[in-house]
C-alpha cells in the first residue's frame, strides 16, 4: 500500500480518536462512540435502509455537477478568452456569486416544483459560479508564450479552445469541483429537509427528531464518506485526464 492510501487512513484514525475523546467528555448519549456508529451504519447499509437515501443524494449532487460543468465550462472559456466579454460578465458574476443561494430554495420550489429538480437547481446555483470563475481564471492564466505559439502556428479558434484553453483550465476546474463538493454537501443537507422523504439530509434530520443519535451520526458519517468518495474520485479522474500534473509535481519535489 503506498503512502497516498496510508495518509487517508491516518486522517480517519485521527478523527476517530478525537471522536472518542468527545464521546468520553460529553457523554455517550449525546455523542455515541464511533464503533457503535460504524456498526449501525454497516447494519443499515446491509439491510438497505440507508441505500435509497444515499442514492437520492448522489443523484441530486451528480446531476447538479453535470449541469454546472456543461453550462459553466463553456461560459468560463468564453469569458476567459475575451477581454470584452470578461468586462461585461465578470461584474455581474461578482454580485451574484456571494448571494446565499439557500435563501432561494422557496423560489426554486415555486418555479420548479417540490421534486428533485428544485433541489438540483439549488445545488447547481451553488456550483455554477465556482466553475465559471475557475475556468475563466484558468484561461486568463495562460502564459503569453503559449498564445504566441498558437498565433504563429496559425491554430484555428476551435483548436485554440480544445488544445490550449480547455486543457490549461482543467486543473482549475477540478480544484473548484473539490472545493464545491464540501459546500454542496451542506446545501444538500438543507435542501433535503424540505418536501422529500429521501436523501441523506432527510435521514439525518429524521433521526435527530426521533432522538436516535446513533442514526443521526451514522447519517453524518455517510454524508462525510460520500463527500470523501467524490473528492477521491476527482483525484482519480485528474490522474487519468491530467497525467502531466503527476510529472510536474515530481519535478517540484
Amino acid at each position: 500500500m503506498n503512502n497516498k492510501y496510508l495518509n487517508k487512513f491516518y486522517g480517519l484514525l485521527i478523527i476517530t480518536l478525537l471522536w472518542y475523546l468527545l464521546s468520553l467528555f460529553l457523554g455517550n448519549n449525546l455523542i455515541p462512540y464511533p464503533h457503535n456508529v460504524w456498526l449501525y451504519l454497516l447494519t443499515i447499509t446491509v439491510n438497505g435502509n440507508i441505500v435509497p437515501h444515499i442514492t437520492y443524494s448522489l443523484f441530486r449532487l451528480l446531476s447538479a455537477i453535470g449541469f454546472a460543468l456543461t453550462i459553466g465550462v463553456p461560459i468560463g472559456l468564453l469569458i476567459g478568452s475575451s477581454t470584452k466579454t470578461d468586462q461585461w460578465f465578470s461584474p455581474i458574476l461578482y454580485i451574484l456569486y456571494p448571494i446565499p443561494k439557500i435563501a432561494f430554495l422557496p423560489v426554486f420550489m415555486a418555479l420548479f416544483g417540490l421534486g428533485d429538480f428544485s433541489k438540483i437547481t439549488l445545488l447547481f446555483s451553488v456550483l455554477i459560479f465556482q466553475i465559471i470563475l475557475a475556468t475563466r481564471d484558468g484561461v486568463k492564466q495562460i502564459p503569453i508564450e503559449f498564445h504566441h505559439v498558437t498565433q504563429t502556428l496559425g491554430l484555428s479558434k476551435k483548436d485554440q479552445l480544445l488544445k490550449l484553453y480547455l486543457p490549461h483550465a482543467l486543473p482549475n476546474i477540478l480544484s473548484a469541483l473539490r472545493i464545491s463538493i464540501g459546500i454542496s454537501m451542506a446545501v444538500l443537507f438543507f435542501g433535503e429537509n424540505y418536501a422529500t422523504s429521501y436523501g441523506i439530509g432527510y435521514f439525518i434530520m429524521n433521526n435527530w427528531i426521533m432522538v436516535n443519535y446513533k442514526g443521526m451520526f451514522a447519517g453524518i458519517l455517510a454524508l462525510s464518506l460520500m463527500a470523501a468518495f467524490l473528492i477521491y474520485l476527482i483525484d482519480v479522474i485528474q490522474d487519468k485526464i491530467c497525467p502531466w500534473l503527476t510529472y510536474e509535481k515530481r519535478n517540484k519535489i
Binding site: Q151, L153, K163, Y247, R250
Partner: protein, 236 residues
C-alpha cells in the same frame, strides 16, 4: 526575403523600435544583438506578426510568395505541458494521421528525440524541451525562421550542443533566419550578418567574415570577431 519599411512601435519614454529599415535576402542568417531593452524582441515579435506596428510595414516573401506565419522559436520552450512530445510537434499540422506520424518521426530522428515521442515536457531536460520546440516550428518547413534567444535558458554545454544543431539545420536548408541573442559568441557562430541595436534603432550592421564551421569556437579568428563586436557595443 524580409523587408521592413520605417517600422515603428512606440511604447513612450523612448522605448520601442523606431524607423527600422531591414532587407534580409533569401538564405541569409542574421543575428540581432544589443543591450537589454534596446528593442530586439519587439522587432522580432513585429516580424513574427505578434505585434502590430504603429507605423511602417513588414513584408516577408519567399520566391515571390507572401508568408504570413514565419516559424518562431521562443526563449522559453513554450511546450504545452498536457501534450506529449509527439502531440506538441503535431500541434500545427493538418493531414492524415499517417502523414503526420511519418513527418514527426523524421524530425524526431533528426533532433535525436525518437525515444522521447511519448514523454511529457515535464519528463524532459531543458535542452530536450528546446529541441522539441525547434521540431514543432520546423515540422511545417517554414521558409523564414525567427528565433528569440533560443539558447538563453540553457546551461553552457546544452547551449553549445543546441547551437551546433541550429547551425547544421541552417547549413542543410539555407533557411532565411533572423535571431535575437544576448551572446555575441552565439551571434558570431551562427550568423553571417550581425545587427547591433541601441535605443530602438539599428546602429550598425556587421558582416561576419567567418565561414560557417562547427569547429569555429575557440579559434583565434572567432575571438577576434567577438572582440570587434564587443568593442563596438561598448561604445553604445
Amino acid at each position: 526575403m524580409i523587408n521592413t519599411n520605417n517600422l515603428t512601435i512606440n511604447y513612450g519614454d523612448n522605448n520601442g523600435i523606431f524607423n527600422i529599415n531591414l532587407r534580409i535576402e533569401h538564405g541569409d542568417i542574421y543575428a540581432i544583438v544589443g543591450h537589454s531593452g534596446c528593442g530586439k524582441t519587439t522587432l522580432l515579435h513585429c516580424l513574427a506578426g505578434i505585434l502590430m506596428p504603429d507605423k511602417g510595414n513588414v513584408t516577408i516573401h519567399d520566391h515571390n510568395e507572401q508568408i504570413t506565419n514565419p516559424g518562431l522559436i521562443q526563449q522559453k520552450d513554450a511546450l504545452f505541458p498536457w501534450f506529449n512530445v509527439f502531440d506538441n510537434i503535431a500541434l500545427g499540422l493538418n493531414g492524415s494521421k499517417k502523414t503526420i506520424s511519418n513527418k514527426i518521426s523524421t524530425i524526431l530522428m533528426a533532433l535525436d528525440l525518437i525515444n522521447y515521442r511519448n514523454h511529457y515536457p515535464a519528463q524532459l531536460s531543458g535542452g530536450q524541451k528546446q529541441r522539441v520546440s525547434i521540431g514543432r516550428t520546423l515540422i511545417s518547413n517554414p521558409d523564414v525562421l525567427l528565433m528569440d534567444e533560443p539558447t538563453a535558458s540553457l546551461d553552457a554545454f546544452t547551449k553549445e550542443a543546441l547551437q551546433d544543431l541550429l547551425l547544421k539545420l541552417y547549413i542543410e536548408k539555407q533557411r532565411t533566419t533572423l535571431f535575437v541573442t544576448h551572446s555575441i559568441e552565439e551571434a558570431v557562430f551562427l550568423a553571417n550578418k550581425i545587427l547591433i541595436m541601441d535605443k530602438g534603432k539599428i546602429v550598425k550592421t556587421y558582416d561576419n567574415p567567418l565561414e560557417h564551421n562547427l569547429n569555429l569556437r575557440g579559434s583565434p579568428d572567432f575571438y577576434d570577431v567577438v572582440k570587434d563586436i564587443r568593442l563596438m557595443m561598448g561604445g553604445l
